[in-house]
């Protein structure tokens, strides 16, 4: 496991406030942190602490109010709408808690949907093989279990060979055993393909599996832990 110190993403003093009707809800209140190349980072925090918001800003699917988010030397907060689209298309892979597959497309087609627009995608069938679901490629999401759907979602994120794989509670809707399969998969991907992996969780048991853990409380980084590296399959915790 190589964990070079070089930063892939660096956040400096990032603020984000939502408007709830008339009321301003400060969600991120000056977050500064870095995501290192090829590391496995978990973001830990209680519900409502701002984890998803942070990840959305890093992934370019939402915009910060102020601060810098520098990805490989470029500040994505200054990106235009189309630059941002290009950034998402070429650099970022997302895995969401509720899979977000397109219900009217088959497993393979869902992966294709991402591969089609990527610059240097892998073969979608290959991606399905990686998540162990090559035999389910003709199935529609409604014909798959939750864990299988999440693995399709991972294949969809992987297929474009993203520099950064962002997973927002990827096991949040799964049972314990299935969660392990999914986490195992993610961990292997990180170690084998050198994809930078960020996993959000509010489950403290997952944190020790990663290289580092960032904990966030009330929109502020509270601490960063460098972990002893653990193998999930050996100690599911």
């Amino acid at each position: 496991m190589n964990t070079p110190d070089e930063a892939l993403v660096r956040l400096t003093d990032v603020y984000k406030t939502y408007l709830m009707g008339e009321v301003e809800v400060p969600v991120l209140r000056g977050v500064s942190m870095e995501i290192r190349k090829a590391e496995f980072l978990t973001i830990w925090g209680e519900s409502g602490s701002g984890k998803s918001t942070l990840m959305n800003l890093v992934g370019g699917i939402d915009r910060a109010d102020s601060g810098e988010i520098v990805f490989q030397g470029e500040d994505i907060t200054n990106f235009s709408e189309s630059e941002l689209t290009h950034y998402r298309r070429s650099q970022v892979g997302f895995v969401f808690q509720f899979y977000n597959l397109v219900p009217s497309l088959t497993a393979l087609e869902n992966v294709w949907a991402a591969a089609e627009i990527a610059e240097d995608p892998m073969d979608p069938e290959e991606a399905l093989k990686l998540v162990g679901l090559a035999d389910r490629k003709e199935h529609f999401p409604s014909q798959l279990s939750g864990g299988q759907q999440q693995r399709i979602a991972i294949a969809r994120a992987l297929v474009k060979r993203p520099a950064l794989l962002l997973c927002d509670e990827p096991t949040g809707a799964l049972d314990h055993d299935t969660s392990i399969v999914v986490l195992d998969l993610l961990q292997n991907l990180n170690s084998e393909t050198e994809t930078t992996l960020v996993v959000i969780t509010h489950n403290p048991e997952i944190a020790p599996l990663a290289d580092r853990t960032v904990s966030i409380v009330d929109g502020l980084i509270q601490g960063v832990n460098e972990n002893e590296h653990l193998q999930i399959s050996e100690d599911p915790g």
Binding site: S52, T85, R88, N100, W112, I117, A118
Partner: protein
């Protein structure tokens, strides 16, 4: 994008019914757009073919009598390329087969066929032979109506002599595509004959050797396009010493003008009527697509997170619009072709064309397709833009709940609590889903306004006929005289069998001049205590004729820019044509366009006459035998120019309107039904899809489908009845606008809507909602209850 296209195809399979609703509405709109424009195109093509075949003249000058050589010599003007002089006379024809004397025009033609201006197209028989001088070619429809055959002999009173002519052929002419007999409002070729005879025969009969009384001609190409080139006036001025009655460019020629008006009407309506449908279709599409986008907002957010751009997604949704637009456009082209076929068929009844066929216009269909795609795309973009503009993170979050909370009505507990739970749900739904409610009401308003417009149009035509024939013209016959006679003629007619009342009329055809404005028309001098001619306004109000001055149609006053009391110059078209100046006493809203009334004695005095009679109006109560004797006597009257049977004219008009209106009305109401059904089905299918869980829950609670369906029924009924009520004034306003469009110098139709039409409109709307309910129930049955209950949004 290939993968998204698969998604598109599958989504289309899911929502084809709703798209079909949009497609139907748009197809009808595009269909009528294409149909009306193609009809105008068909008429245009038929007319220009006909005009070039017959060498239709560019101008006409009617005069008293002029030497033919002089006419040609004076026509040597730059701008006039060719002149034809001819003879034309109004005559009375005595047909064995017709009881009453029939009016006709005799026109001269060269003895040998050639490329003459205003030539004819022989339909049966042949052109004149060299054997006989008294051969006649009869207008085709007239010959058919009276069973005239080649070789038949017909008799006409010409120049006070009874003459016999032999039919050698039948023909049509571009000059008379539309022909109305005197006093009639519609094409009436059966009662108005066109007799073409050799020039020499007419010259001898009427004492016109070497002379003519009608000049027609062609302009040089650079003047041909002009509406009224000054060259025509210059020529008419040169002919002035020979007594010019009238000079008119083609634009003012009656048949041409009617055809033009008809084409203009079609073209105008092609833009008014279909726009109703396009707007409704666009709105339905908007609702449909905004719902689809809303339903797929998570997917849209995800796709954007994957790297799809806003444009990619707009294009994706636009393909739905394209699907609806293209199928609507194609169906529209089919409907349009059918419609122009039907309308063209109808015009064959109005106009005499040798060839009037329905053609397919690819360019027009393409334009229709563009409009269709445009309307659908516009609706689509408006519908999806809100969701697509969301930041992906925002889109992936569940939509904020629809503005909940209580609606205003709930603060009125006495009312609110008296409603059952279903009514409360209906009202909450209607008030909360504002956009959809607006679209539902708007569509119903459009549908209802079309229905009311249709009924109103029929009412208005009825009103026009009623005012004209039951209020204004109380007489049974109008006898027009070829020259002014004394009052003896009135007494002579009074003595005929069965005649109950006779009144003299003094008509003065003239040109009105006010300032630099001029207008041709005629003044009708009627007795102050007239019982047979009662001037009446479009509102049905009787108007007394002033003792002095003119009672003038307001339309004419507008054209001449006159106010009551203003002076106006009259230049009579007949007689010594000495101009006189008088004044407008009063205006009135006239239905028959530009009519002007005056007191009989005063008008006589004004024109330097006394007791002159130019027309006799007769009311009669006759049995068959009396009528026969009456008509025979008329056939022998030497100075009779035309006999109009007013009751027959009314019947002709009624039949005509019936034929023209019945089909049109049915089609219009069917079209309105498409709007109602399209909007209702679409709204309900969306509601059913959205509220599957609710429906399943009701069903689980033991409600029958039809009881649950009542929820939708009440909602549809409420919005559609409100919409229809809103549509009533809209329909009335549209009718007013259209009726103004239909206004010509010949007549204007009063905009009348009977109260039963309002009731029928609402009743039809209720009927449409009830019929649509059957489809609603049918679709509800197909919901999978178990799946719906477990549905995870």
């Amino acid at each position: 994008m290939k993968t998204l296209n698969r998604k598109l195809r599958r989504d289309l399979q899911q929502s084809w019914k709703m798209l079909l609703a949009v497609t139907a509405v748009i197809a009808v709109g595009i269909g009528s757009f294409i149909g009306m424009l193609a009809t105008a195109g068909n008429l245009q093509v038929a007319r220009s073919q006909y005009y070039s075949t017959c060498r239709m003249a560019d101008f006409w000058i009617d005069l008293k009598k002029a030497p033919a050589d002089e006419v040609h010599r004076l026509g040597q003007l730059p701008g006039i390329s060719e002149i034809r002089d001819r003879l034309q006379f109004k005559v009375i024809v005595d047909l064995e087969t017709a009881e009453k004397p029939v009016s006709a025009i005799v026109l001269s033609l060269p003895a040998v066929p050639g490329t003459t201006i205003n030539g004819i197209v022989i339909k049966t028989g042949s052109y004149f032979s060299q054997d006989r001088s008294n051969e006649v070619i009869v207008s085709e429809k007239f010959a058919n109506a009276h069973d005239l055959e080649l070789g038949d002999r017909i008799h006409a009173i010409m120049n006070e002599q009874r003459k016999e002519m032999i039919i050698c052929g039948t023909a049509t002419s571009a000059e008379f595509v539309y022909l109305t007999s005197p006093g009639s409002l519609v094409d009436d070729p059966e009662n108005y004959g066109l007799f073409y005879v050799k020039r020499q025969y007419l010259e001898e009969t009427f004492g016109f050797e070497g002379a003519c009384n009608s000049v027609t001609g062609l302009f040089t190409p650079e003047f041909r396009g002009q509406k009224n080139p000054p060259i025509l006036q210059a020529y008419a001025d040169r002919l002035e010493p020979f007594g010019v009655f009238a000079s008119m460019p083609r634009a003012d020629q009656f048949s041409h003008m009617v055809l033009d008006a008809e084409m203009t009407q079609n073209r105008t309506m092609a833009f008014i009527f279909p726009s109703f449908f396009l707007v409704v279709a666009s709105l339905i599409m908007n609702v449909l697509m905004s719902r689809l986008a809303e339903q797929q907002r998570t997917i849209m957010g995800t796709l954007k997170a994957l790297g799809y751009s806003n444009r990619d997604l707009v294009v994706h949704f636009l393909k739905f619009g394209l699907a609806a637009g293209v199928s609507g456009g194609v169906m529209g082209a089919i409907i349009g072709f059918w419609m122009s076929g039907a309308l063209t068929e109808m015009y064959l009844d109005f106009f005499s064309f040798p060839r009037l066929v329905n053609s397919f216009y690819p360019g027009l269909s393409f334009l229709g397709l563009l409009l269709s795609v445009g309307a659908c795309s516009f609706g689509t973009i408006q519908g999806v833009r809100r969701v697509i503009r969301l930041q992906p993170a925002e889109a992936m979050r569940p939509a904020p709940p629809a503005k909940g909370g209580s609606i205003l009505l709930e603060r009125w507990p006495r009312f609110w609590e008296s409603l059952d739970i279903q009514w409360q749900m209906v009202l909450r739904g209607i008030i909360r889903r504002k956009r959809r409610t607006f679209v539902a009401i708007f569509s119903a308003a459009m549908g209802a306004s079309i229905v009311l417009l249709t009924f109103g149009f029929v009412n208005s035509m009825d009103a026009m006929i009623q005012i004209q024939f039951d209020k204004i013209l109380r007489s049974d016959y109008h006898l027009a005289l070829s020259k002014e006679l004394g009052s003896e003629v009135v007494d002579e007619i009074r003595r005929l069998p069965g005649v109950t009342a006779v009144e003299a009329v003094f008509a003065v055809p003239c040109t009105y001049e006010a300032g630099h404005r001029k207008k041709k028309g005629g003044i009708l001098g009627i007795l102050p205590d007239s019982k047979l001619t009662l001037p009446t306004g479009t509102d049905g109000q009787r108007i007394a004729v002033p003792d002095t001055g003119l009672l003038m149609a307001e339309g004419l006053m507008d054209q001449l820019n006159l106010q009551p009391g203003d002076p106006v110059r009259l230049v009579p078209i007949k007689g010594d044509r000495r101009p006189v100046t008088t004044h407008v006493a009063q205006g009135f809203p006239s239905m028959l366009g530009l009519d002007v009334y005056a007191n009989y004695s005063w008008l006589n005095y004004l024109m330097g006459e006394s007791g002159a009679v130019s027309e006799v109006r007769v009311s009669a109560l006759q049995n068959r035998k009396q009528r026969k004797i009456f008509m025979r006597a008329l056939k022998e009257m030497p100075n009779l120019e035309a006999v109009s049977d007013i009751r027959e004219q009314k019947q002709v008009l009624v039949d005509h309107m019936d034929r023209a209106m019945r089909g049109t009305a049915v089609v219009m109401i069917l079209f309105a039904a498409v709007i109602f059904f399209g909007a209702i089905l679409n709204a309900t299918l969306i509601a059913i899809a959205e509220r599957q869980r609710e429906i399943a829950t009701f069903s689980a609670m033991g409600y029958f489908d039809r009881e649950t369906a009542r929820l939708f029924f009440r909602e549809n009924m409420l919005t559609n009845v409100i919409g229809s009520v809103v549509g009533l004034p809209l329909g009335a306003a549209t009718l007013n606008g259209i009726v103004t469009q239909f206004q010509t110098d010949a007549y204007s139709i009063p905009a009348v809507i009977s109260s039963s039409s309002y009731l029928y409109t609402i009743a039809l709307a209720v009927f449409f909602v009830m019929s649509a309910q059957l489809a609603v129930i049918h679709n509800m049955r197909k919901i999978d209850r178990v799946e719906a209950m477990n549905l995870k949004e």
